[in-house]
């Protein structure tokens, strides 16, 4: 479907469905989400809160909170299915092949253990190395993520570090066992504006250096524009648009993406400026039939209300789920 580069993708997500059974019926939080991540690629994932960005990350790493569950589709890591693995096998993949960075560095670290203890434990869980070897690696990692005097600071407790420094520690922990894919869930949202850029740089550099792919979840288009190779736009648990960052930003095909970028939809030159999208994203129990975006869309027509648009190619590597695209390109 996408396949940005010719080689085999590192991660393949196909028609992923995540559901939450509740007393009043089953809520579908992710509905047939599909995308690929190539080796070494940075995929940005944007959308409003509740669009399903974080859920996608949790589903990939196998940490959906019960009662949430994968109800359909598949997730493959280098061609091997990982969405139906037994818990113990999935645990071995977490940290070792897929790492994850969470939003809030203040709460991501266990306050009762030193940074060294947490790093060494993580390294030795996945790698057969001695305590001293693990420690050497840990110091190297801290040094690499930019902790000054790493050899000394490693024995400090998390509360001895500032927010930005802690997020560096979190990145070091996520990368401790050299995973091939790092899922970064809003890694800078909780940080001071002054350090956000540094953290993103560190993350990007260290991943590039190790050839690790990144799935960068954020609502900040600025971060995406600077960091990502490609971007996927999620709306109400569905992929609205996916493509190279430059294309999506400059030539947004989906009216929602366009609104998100604060730009004019390029398809219809005479349309109104869509600086702000009126209304709010529908709740999961009230997703409209057809296109989920149709009640808010300025370009809505009958087909949008009746039929759900499928993700289709609009340009090389650029896919959009919007009937306008079909009309436009047809």
């Amino acid at each position: 479907m996408t396949g940005g580069k010719m080689q085999e993708p590192l991660l393949t997500v196909r028609d992923l469905i995540v559901e939450f059974p509740t007393r009043r019926g089953t809520l579908r939080a992710l509905d047939q989400v599909s995308f690929d991540i190539a080796p070494g690629e940075v995929l940005g994932m944007v959308g409003e809160s509740g669009a399903g960005k974080s859920l996608t990350g949790a589903a990939i790493i196998g940490l959906l909170e019960p009662p949430g569950r994968i109800a359909g589709g598949e997730i493959r890591l280098r061609g091997e299915r990982i969405d139906n693995l037994p818990p113990e096998a999935m645990r071995r993949i977490r940290g070792r092949r897929i790492g994850m960075v969470f939003q809030d560095p203040l709460t991501s670290l266990n306050p009762l253990y030193t940074v060294a203890q947490q790093l060494i434990q993580t390294i030795r869980t996945h790698m057969d190395v001695s305590e001293s070897e693990a420690r050497k690696r840990a110091v190297g990692l801290l040094d690499r993520v930019g902790i000054p005097a790493a050899a000394r600071r490693i024995d400090d407790y998390p509360h001895h570090f500032s927010g930005g420094m802690r997020q560096r520690v979190v990145i070091a922990l996520a990368l401790a066992a050299e995973p091939e894919l790092v899922i970064a869930d809003e890694p800078t949202t909780a940080l001071d504006v002054s350090v956000q850029a540094q953290i993103i740089d560190v993350l990007k550099e260290i991943c590039a250096e190790r050839g690790a792919s990144v799935m960068l979840i954020t609502h900040d288009m600025g971060v995406i524009a600077e960091t990502a190779d490609r971007v996927a736009v999620l709306y109400a648990g569905r992929v609205a648009e996916i493509g190279p960052v430059r294309d999506v930003i400059q030539h947004a095909r989906h009216p929602y993406t366009a609104g998100l970028m604060g730009a004019i939809p390029t398809l219809e030159q005479d349309s109104d400026r869509l600086v702000q999208i009126p209304g709010a994203m529908p709740r999961l129990n009230a997703i409209p039939t057809g296109c989920a975006f149709n009640p808010r869309c300025a370009h809505v027509f009958d087909r949008c209300r009746a039929e759900r648009p499928i993700l289709q190619r609009a340009a090389p590597n650029h896919h959009v789920a919007c009937w306008l695209t079909e009309e436009g390109s047809a």
């Binding site: 790493i61 993949i93 940290g95 790492g99 969470f102 009762l112 509360h159 001895h160 570090f161």
Partner: protein, 328 residues
């Protein structure tokens, strides 16, 4: 570190002073020591002489100072009822109470933490549901009723265990007697220890369960899972350690409660401890014993509080402000 301990010690001393004041007021103003000591026939002149001799006419502050000085030296006067020095009475019965409290405290802690962790990790299992239901009934069961029912079952019907007393005890050192060293002493401990520990166990269990569930929802546990750490490392390394921080405080305070609740258990099992002594002193308005018991309980509570604070300090590095980090 030193300042912290010093402040705690000073606070403890202040609490002790207040308790001493209550204790003294009790000692001095509840019941008339003169009529208790001399009987009805004494003349007014005799009473006045004794009053003077005992220093009862001295100013309040002087009397209080006297009381505290003697209390610090372990002198609480003579029991009205038993005509023995109060301190001797208490010391001779203290080992029985402390051994009972220790055993039931350890039982309550081990089973409380064990059940708490189990019910938190296996939330939907039938065993968890059973444990939680039984614990609800346990909270509504008065301690004395548990004791009586245990006696009925294990002493009367099954005749497995003794129902009263400490069994055979062995002297250790000058004044300590222990029941740990003889079979009958150990057997005698079982029913009272369970009775005394059951309620505390339920409390600890519910607390551990609630805290554990809370901790398991935290970000650092999610992050630990995302790093692929084993369940064992997550549950018993990361989660349990964080759970124990508040649990230690409450459990420590429960230890004090256990010694107080021993009053009931000791009465049910005719256990020769200080609790039974206190109940009799209440029944017969034996004021010196009541005052001394109050002071003893206060000392125990204060000491436990102090130890709990220090433990807290040892477990939680955030309280150690010895090294100023880059943060905050």
């Amino acid at each position: 570190m030193l300042a912290f301990i010093l402040r705690r010690v000073l606070q403890s001393l202040a609490v002790m002073l207040v308790v001493a004041l209550v204790s003294f007021a009790l000692f001095r103003y509840v019941g008339d020591p003169i009529s208790t000591m001399m009987g009805q026939e004494a003349t007014i002149a005799d009473r006045e002489a004794l009053r003077e001799r005992l220093g009862l006419n001295d100013p309040f502050v002087v009397q209080f100072f006297d009381f505290v000085t003697r209390a610090v030296q372990g002198d609480f006067g003579i029991s009205y009822r038993l005509q023995q020095p109060v301190m001797e009475l208490i010391l001779s019965r203290l080992p029985a109470t402390l051994e009972l409290a220790l055993v039931s405290g350890v039982l309550a802690f081990l089973f409380g933490v064990g059940f708490g962790v189990y019910t938190a990790l296996r939330r939907r299992g039938w065993l968890s549901t059973t444990i939680m239901t039984v614990s609800l009934v346990g909270v509504s069961l008065p301690t004395f009723l548990i004791g009586v029912l245990l006696i009925w079952l294990f002493a009367v019907e099954l005749q497995w265990l003794p129902s009263f007393g400490r069994g055979e005890v062995v002297d250790i050192g000058d004044w300590w007697t222990t029941g740990f060293l003889t079979p009958s002493g150990r057997a005698s401990l079982i029913l009272p220890a369970i009775t005394l520990g059951l309620y505390q166990m339920t409390l600890i269990m519910r607390l551990v369960r609630a805290e554990m569930l809370e901790v398991l929802r935290t970000d650092y546990i999610k992050f630990a899972r995302a790093r692929g750490l084993s369940n064992r490392a997550i549950h018993f390394g990361h989660a349990l350690k964080n759970t124990m921080v508040p649990v230690i405080t409450i459990t420590g305070l429960q230890l004090g409660a256990i010694i107080a609740f021993a009053i009931i258990t000791e009465t049910v099992f005719q256990w020769p401890g200080v609790g039974a002594l206190f109940i009799n002193s209440v029944r017969f308005v034996d004021v010196p014993v009541m005052a001394a018991y109050l002071m003893m309980i206060a000392v125990i509570f204060v000491v436990i509080n102090l130890i709990v604070d220090l433990l807290y300090y040892a477990v939680d590095p955030r309280l150690r402000v010895d090294r100023a980090g880059a943060g905050h």
